[in-house]
Symmetry: C2
Subunit: 238 residues, 2 copies
């Protein structure tokens, strides 16, 4: 892959600070201090793999900077399955997902905690357990959103949805960063590279987005993007 590495220089500002990452929601300041002592900051270079074996994989993780990609291995081929953007979390892995590969896109800064550390801290901050459950549920919700996309949407709706989601998840910056190839966008959306390209281009021609580079998307009309995504309420006709 030859995608330009993620960089803040001259680009969008770091995603608008979220209230509080879901994992740490509802914690008091002294509790946060305790928690900080258990979590460690890991750094990864572009394309470096995050460990997935039970011994070394992070039990939970909070992505501070950069992007992560998850590739699923299925009958021979690898396919891009999911992207993680700053502010989002890694939840503990089920048995199936351990087969896949998780790797950095650009320079990645990850706040992680192992299982024992989590158990220890959860004794003192029981709220953490609840948050962890909510986290996994959120991933489930996300998966079901993709299910709707893949099951019922047309190619143009899929592409609009995907851009719209990524835009929102990156904190609605002026310029959205697509850190993967058209082929990989297609793998996530269940489309071919050519169809993705055609639909992205169509959005550009419609004036909804601008494409200074294939991987840089300036969102001109977020409202149109949303209504083209098929998630909007069906328009009343009068």
């Amino acid at each position: 892959m030859q995608i330009a590495p993620h960089s803040h220089a001259g680009g969008h500002p770091p995603a608008t600070r979220r209230l509080r990452p879901a994992l740490f929601q509802g914690l008091t300041t002294p509790e946060m201090r305790l928690v900080r002592r258990v979590f460690t900051e890991d750094l990864y270079d572009d394309a470096e793999a995050v460990p997935r074996d039970p011994a070394r994989a992070p039990f939970v993780g909070l992505l501070l900077d950069g992007c992560l990609r998850e590739d699923a291995v299925l009958q021979g081929g690898e396919r891009l399955f999911a992207l993680t953007f700053p502010g989002e979390t890694l939840s503990p892995l089920g048995p199936r997902r351990r087969r896949g590969r998780l790797s950095a896109i650009g320079a990645v800064q990850l706040l992680t905690c192992d299982r024992d550390g989590f158990e220890r801290i959860a004794q003192e901050v029981p709220r953490l357990r609840l948050n962890l459950l909510g986290l996994v549920q959120e991933h489930l919700t996300e998966a079901q959103r993709w299910q709707v996309l893949l099951g019922r949407k047309s190619a143009s709706e899929r592409v609009a949805s995907m851009l719209n989601w990524f835009h929102a998840r990156q904190g609605a910056p002026a310029e959205l960063h697509l850190p993967v190839t058209r082929t990989e966008l297609g793998q996530m959306a269940g489309l071919t590279m050519e169809t993705v390209s055609r639909q992205v281009r169509a959005l550009e021609k419609a004036g909804v987005i601008d494409l200074p580079l294939p991987s840089r998307v300036r969102v001109i009309d977020p409202g149109a993007l949303h209504s083209l995504s098929g998630d909007a309420q069906p328009q009343r006709l009068h």
Copy 2:
């Protein structure tokens, strides 16, 4: 709907007893006794709804008999989203899924526990918390399996996969029970009713299954069903 109610009379035997439902895995006999005291058995009639509001919804549930259907509400229409078969579990709901509807297909027997009860018992049997997490992860795995189906499979593979999964999940009985219409199978697989019908018929003509009734499927060649599902290892050609 006019589907014949679920019945064991003259049908397949109750699903081969699983080792132990995932929720109770690794519990000792005395622990199981404690647990049994906290869980209650709820009965539902055909088409009856399982409560979903936070106050009355089961926090976790284990389906003992019958089937459950989960319908998602999205921009106007309702669509069948998922089926639950005996031995499978209901996990606590994320915010999004509360919008949907969960209802009984046939006579349903459900072993449930509310949130407070779960918290209490989890103090004494910490393993339960781990199992709960595993449960939600299993649902996530399942959702991702559907993502692959919807994203990359052809109509014939989708139908073969679906039948194959349902067959396995019902405990591989001689005669598999499809408790929903072709339209609803289509909603789950991202296909139209007509396409589902054609593909099911094609499997019948190929001798892989037999269809004494549209909702009764006798699986003649489980191996073929699996290889037609597209999940099988790609065949070596020599």
